[in-house]
C-alpha cells in the first residue's frame, strides 16, 4: 500500500486537522468527536443540519460543511459509522431552538448510531428529526435486506435541505423537502478497481485486470454482478439501464445528472461518461437541466464512477441553484 499517510490510525484525525487548518475562519474542529462544524453554528434562526457516516468518502461529508450545506459532520473511522457518542455530543453541542436535522445514509451501523443519539438527545429536550437517504438502485429493497444504500445521491438531499435551512425553513419543512428529493433520486456505481483501506493495507477485494464490479457500494461492498471490462458506451448503458426504469424517469422529464468519481478516476474520464450519458438521455427525451461532474462521494482510492439522476421540479431546481460555500475549494 502506498498512500500519503503517517499512521493508519491517524488517517481521519490528520485529514480533519488539515481541513480545519485550511479553513480557520469558517470551520471549527473538535478532535474528541471527529467533529467539523461551521464557526457560526448553532444559530437560533436556523435548523442545524448534521451528517455522520464513515470516513473514506471525501469530500462527503466533512468537506461539505459550510453555508448552504451542512452545519456539521462527525464521521466515524474509515467505512465505519460514527460511534453513537459522537452523534449525541455533536447534536447536543450544536442544538438550535429550531431543531436539529440528522442526515443519515441508510446503513445498519449509521441507522443504529443515529437512532440511539436521537433518542438520547430528545431525552435531553432537543428537537431532532432524522432523514434517511437510500438512492442506490443496485440493492433490492425487501424485508430480507436492510434496504437500499445511501450513496452519491445524498449530495442532492444535503444541498436542497441546506439551501432551505439557510432561508429559515422549519424542521418539518426540511423533512418534507429532503424526503421529496430522496424519492426522486437514483444512483448506481461501477468499480474498475477495489479500494485499499489504510488499516488493511491491501485491496478490499480482488478484481482481475479485465473485470469490473457493477452496482458496487461506496464501501467496496460487492455489487450486482461482476462483468468483463466494457467500453464507456456500454458502461453508460448498464448504468442508465438500471437507473432510468427504477423511478422511472420518462420522456419529458428534466433531470440533474451527476457523474461521480469514486476517488481514483481522473476527471477526464468522468467527462467522457458525462457526454455519453447526456446524449443517451436526450435520445430518450430526457433533458439534463443541471449537471455535476467530479468527486462528490468517493470510496477511498477506488477507480470507478457512479451515475445519479434526480427528477427536477421548480422547487428542487431552485434549491440546487442556491449558492453554497463549502470547505473544499477547487478553484
Amino acid at each position: 500500500m502506498k498512500k500519503f499517510i503517517n499512521d493508519p490510525q491517524q488517517f481521519v484525525p490528520e485529514m480533519l486537522k488539515g481541513i480545519a487548518l485550511a479553513n480557520p475562519a469558517t470551520l471549527v474542529y473538535v478532535p474528541k468527536y471527529n467533529l467539523i462544524h461551521r464557526a457560526d453554528s448553532p444559530r437560533d434562526d436556523k435548523v442545524t443540519i448534521i451528517q455522520g457516516s464513515g470516513s473514506g468518502h471525501e469530500p462527503a461529508h466533512v468537506m461539505t460543511v459550510g453555508k448552504g450545506m451542512l452545519d456539521a459532520a462527525c464521521p466515524g473511522d474509515i467505512f465505519a459509522a460514527p460511534p453513537m457518542d459522537y452523534v449525541y455530543e455533536t447534536t447536543k453541542l450544536l442544538a438550535s431552538p429550531k431543531g436539529v436535522l440528522l442526515l443519515v445514509n441508510n446503513y445498519t451501523g449509521d441507522r443504529m448510531a443515529f437512532d440511539m443519539a436521537q433518542e438520547m438527545s430528545e431525552a435531553d429536550g432537543v428537537k431532532v428529526k432524522t432523514l434517511f437517504i437510500n438512492d442506490d438502485v443496485s440493492v433490492e429493497d425487501s424485508t430480507y435486506t436492510v434496504g437500499r444504500r445511501g450513496v452519491a445521491g445524498n449530495f442532492f438531499v444535503m444541498k436542497a435541505v441546506g439551501a432551505a435551512a439557510e432561508t429559515g425553513a422549519e424542521l418539518d419543512e426540511l423533512i418534507r423537502i429532503g424526503e421529496k428529493v430522496n424519492s426522486v433520486t437514483r444512483t448506481m456505481g461501477i468499480a474498475l478497481t477495489a479500494c485499499t483501506p489504510p488499516s488493511k493495507g491491501s485491496p478490499l477485494f480482488d478484481l482481475a485486470d479485465d473485470e469490473i464490479e457493477i452496482g458496487v457500494g461506496i464501501h467496496g461492498e460487492p455489487g450486482r454482478r461482476r462483468a468483463k471490462w466494457m467500453p464507456a458506451n456500454e458502461i453508460i448503458d448498464e448504468l442508465l439501464g438500471a437507473v432510468v426504469p427504477d423511478l422511472p424517469f420518462a420522456s419529458g422529464d428534466r433531470v440533474a445528472l451527476m457523474i461521480n468519481g469514486l476517488g481514483g478516476t481522473p476527471i477526464s474520464e468522468l467527462y467522457i461518461l458525462y457526454g455519453i450519458a447526456h446524449e443517451r438521455l436526450a435520445a430518450q427525451g430526457i433533458t439534463v437541466g443541471r449537471n455535476y461532474v467530479g468527486e462528490y462521494c468517493t470510496s477511498l482510492d477506488m477507480a470507478g464512477a457512479s451515475l445519479t439522476l434526480v427528477r427536477l421540479d421548480d422547487e428542487i431546481e431552485q434549491l440546487l441553484e442556491a449558492p453554497a460555500e463549502v470547505a473544499v475549494r477547487i478553484f
Partner: protein, 214 residues
C-alpha cells in the same frame, strides 16, 4: 463476591485482548462480503477498554460491565459499536447488584444480551450475524451446566457449539448487515461476527483453567 468480579474481569480482559490481537484476522473476514472495518473497530474499542481498565467502577460485576459498555459505545463505530455496546449494556443491567454470580445468572445475562442485539439490529437468529454463533453457544453452556459439568467443561462446550455454528453460517444467505447487499453471493463464506464469537469463546475455554475456577 469478589471472585465473581475476578471472573468477570478475566472474561472481559480475555475478550479485549483477543479482539486486539485478531484485528487483522477479523478485518480480513469482514472483507469477503463486507467493508473490512470489523477488526479495526473492535481493536480500537477494546484497546480503549484496556486503557481505561483501572478507572472502571467495580462495585459489582454488573456495574463493571456497564462501564465497559459505555467505553465501547464511545469509541466503536460501525454496526459493531451499537451491537457490542448493547450486549455489554444488557448483561451489565442484568447482573447489576448481584454479588454471587452462578452459571445460571450468566446464561440469563447472555440471553438478555441476545435480546438486546436482536432489538437493536432488528435481526434474529438465521439472518447470518453473530447471533447465529452466540445463541447456540449460550444454549450449549446452559445444557452442559444443567448436565452437571464443571464450569470449565461448560465453557468448553460453549466454545465447541460456537465454532460449529459459526462455520455453519457459510451455508446461509445474509439478511441483515452489509453482507445482505451481496444477496446469494454471501453464501459460501462464514459471517465475520459469528466467527469472532467462536474465536472469543475458544480463547475463554483454553485459558479458563489458567485462572482460579469460579
Amino acid at each position: 463476591m469478589s471472585s465473581s468480579l475476578d471472573t468477570t474481569e478475566f472474561v472481559v480482559r480475555t475478550i479485549a485482548t483477543t479482539c486486539v490481537e485478531n484485528e487483522k484476522y477479523f478485518g480480513d473476514l469482514d472483507s469477503v462480503v463486507g467493508d473490512g472495518d470489523f477488526g479495526y473497530s473492535l481493536a480500537r474499542g477494546f484497546e480503549q477498554v484496556l486503557t481505561q481498565w483501572d478507572q472502571f467502577d467495580r462495585d459489582d460485576s454488573g456495574t463493571f460491565l456497564l462501564k465497559v459498555a459505555m467505553s465501547i459505545t464511545s469509541r466503536i463505530g460501525g454496526t459493531s459499536g451499537p451491537i457490542w455496546g448493547t450486549a455489554f449494556l444488557r448483561a451489565g443491567t442484568q447482573l447489576k447488584g448481584s454479588e454471587n454470580i452462578a452459571v445460571g445468572d450468566v446464561v440469563t445475562a447472555l440471553r438478555s444480551s441476545i435480546e438486546g442485539i436482536k432489538k437493536r439490529g432488528n435481526s434474529d437468529v438465521g439472518d447470518k450475524t453473530l447471533l447465529d454463533a452466540l445463541a447456540p453457544a449460550v444454549d450449549a453452556l446452559e445444557q452442559a451446566h444443567d448436565a452437571g459439568e464443571s464450569v470449565a467443561d461448560s465453557v468448553r462446550a460453549m466454545a465447541t457449539a460456537a465454532r460449529t455454528a459459526a462455520e455453519h453460517t457459510s451455508t446461509m444467505q445474509a439478511r441483515r448487515g452489509r453482507a445482505s447487499y451481496s444477496g446469494e453471493r454471501s453464501i459460501g463464506s462464514a459471517d465475520a461476527g459469528a466467527l469472532a464469537v467462536a474465536v472469543l469463546a475458544e480463547r475463554l475455554a483454553e485459558t479458563w483453567n489458567s485462572r482460579q475456577p469460579v
